[in-house]
């Protein structure tokens, strides 16, 4: 609209009935509208400025970090402040490892919970369960962390041992030094592992993923649902033909939003995972590290160069989280537009 107006040569006011140049339509907002518009625009801009400032502040730390530790910063797995050897190779791997384990637990639970609430639960129960899922998201993460430390950690190790016993021949289920069949085994070997940390983190991302999926499933068009039922479909058949295809964007988007949270989860991981930066791909085994845990752990006693390095690690985490969340937001907004289903 504005470009059309700009095209008009200056000074040439078109005569009425002149169809060569579009007519300029004066638009003026009322005083109240102008004030409201500028104040909301200003507040909206503050959000962008804050996010941009965080990115700039963290990104700026890359300069002293790379100056001190070189590109080895990204390929070194050790983090030894005493000998000033710092690297984030295993930190990045560990962050993704815990997040993926969390998603493996959270995805089926969130999907089935959302399907149950949206499609199978009687309406009185649905009205009760939907806010319960939201409430689950409101529980402070320190409480999940406590629950993980005192309840999950001492018991889930038997699950880890069982997996190790029967699937230990698959590399990811291997535990170095683990003797699952021995009558007496070292309990601590299976404790405080990325597996258990991921399990606890999954509890925190289920409500987020579930809420997004619920929102999208609820919008599956009634006309298509009835079309499926009128053909003699079972409820599960209708879900597969109508609800799941319609909700695909919500399923992917909700899972990725959960992944974004899992990447940055700090307190539960810090309390459960015993910090160990060895390069290994053995999630059932004790010890591991994530970016958030690294920062929380070393922040207090870091020298200024080391502090820059921690913040640089934070920048990488920030970039990963922004990337995942952006993809998720795009997928969710596309699926909600419903463009595919309109006739």
């Amino acid at each position: 609209m504005t470009t059309l107006i700009d095209l008009q040569p200056p000074g040439s006011s078109p005569e009425p009935g002149d169809d060569k140049t579009p007519r300029k339509i004066p638009r003026s907002l009322s005083r109240a509208d102008r004030i409201f518009r500028w104040s909301t625009t200003g507040i909206g801009a503050v959000v962008l400025v804050i996010t941009g400032a965080i990115a700039a502040f963290l990104g700026y730390q890359l300069i002293p970090t790379l100056h001190h530790y070189g590109l080895h910063f990204f390929t070194e797995n050790l983090w030894q402040p005493q000998s000033n050897v710092l690297g984030i190779e295993q930190v990045l791997i560990g962050t993704v490892e815990v997040a993926i384990i969390a998603i493996i637990f959270a995805f089926p639970l969130a999907l089935l919970t959302a399907l149950y609430i949206s499609e199978y639960a009687p309406s009185w129960l649905r009205g009760f369960l939907t806010p319960m899922v939201d409430l689950m998201a409101a529980i402070p993460s320190i409480l999940y962390a406590m629950w993980g430390v005192f309840l999950i950690n001492p018991h889930a190790l038997y699950v880890a041992r069982w997996l190790n016993e029967y699937f230990g021949w698959i590399p990811v289920f291997h535990v170095s030094g683990g003797q699952p069949r021995a009558a007496v085994f070292v309990l601590s070997l299976y404790q405080s592992s990325p597996f258990i940390a991921g399990m606890v983190v999954s509890m925190m991302i289920i409500p987020i993923a579930c809420a997004v999926m619920l929102g999208v499933f609820g919008q599956a068009p009634l006309s298509e649902r009835e079309g499926a039922y009128a053909l003699g479909s079972t409820r599960w058949g209708m879900i597969r033909a109508v609800v799941l295809p319609f909700g695909r964007g919500g399923i992917v988007g909700g899972t990725m939003l959960g992944l974004g949270r899992a990447l940055g989860e700090t307190i539960a991981v810090t309390l459960i995972l015993s910090l160990n930066t060895d390069v290994k791909f053995r999630p059932l085994e004790e010890g591991g590290v994530t970016t958030a845990q690294l920062i929380a752990n070393y922040f207090g006693e870091a020298t200024s160069a080391q502090l820059s390095a921690l913040l640089a690690a934070g920048f990488v985490l920030f970039a990963m989280a922004i990337f995942v969340n952006t993809i998720a937001a795009i997928i969710v907004s596309r699926s909600r537009s419903g463009a595919l289903t309109e006739i």
């Binding site: 309406s123 068009p221 006309s223 298509e224 009835e226 079309g227 499926a228 039922y229 009128a230 053909l231 003699g232 479909s233 079972t234 058949g237 209708m238 033909a241 109508v242 295809p245 319609f246 595919l340 289903t341 006739i343």
Partner: protein
Amino acid sequence: MTEGEIVSGVSAPVIDAADTTDFTANVTGASLDADRVSAWFGTNKVLERVSLSMAPGIVTALIGPSGCGKSTFLRILNRMHELVPSAKLAGEVRLNGQDIYAPGSPVTVTRRRIGMVFQKPNPFPAMSIGENVLAGLKLTGLKAGRNARTALTEECLQRAGLWTEVKNRLHEPGGSLSGGQQQRLCIARSLAVRPDVLLMDEPCSALDPTSTRRIEETIAILRNQVTIVIVTHNMQQAARVSQQCAFFLAEQGTPGQIVEFGSTKEIFENPRDPRTSDYVHGRFG
């Protein structure tokens, strides 16, 4: 309206000789009988003791002003009514003499035998044209070989009058068709599970005149293959496609009832009830 008049509507209408000329010996389809059907949404009664016989080879039109319960009645005929949480009903609906609401009568089998075409075309957008036709097989767990499926796709699209328009684009999404084509695709989809009865709820109300004509031609072809019941607001359409006609009316505050039932010719040319006469001549509704 007294009860005696409603019950008088149950007797089979006298079909004019002109209407029966194309009744061939190989008429297929099933007889569908509604017996004193009443319906409620919550505590609001919307249908009062409606009885109607729908015989094979005959297209039955349900006419009447909005809100008279004809769509509700249609949805009761294939158990779509119970999908509405507060919906209740009384009475019986018999398909070839068997009550479809009897305990142990599986709802999925009933709905497969009594297909439905809706007011708004509703092809499955995630499926191609070909997949839409065969969706009923997948949804009801019916197995068919590759050749049988190809043959069934062509047969159903032929019967729905859509084959020549889509035979080269079966892999395109169902949503890429025009509204009228989508509605015929939905008819083809209903036919693929081999129903005995086809219910149509204002199938042409969202379509242009050309598409409407195509659907009406399709109904004329299908008439001897499946029993057809059609709800329509279009008087001319009811007169064109149906052989028998039921006029529904819900007078102020009372549940919907059948005011008059008879052969279409009789309803339009010589209605017994003055309210029917007023309605079919466009004086109200």
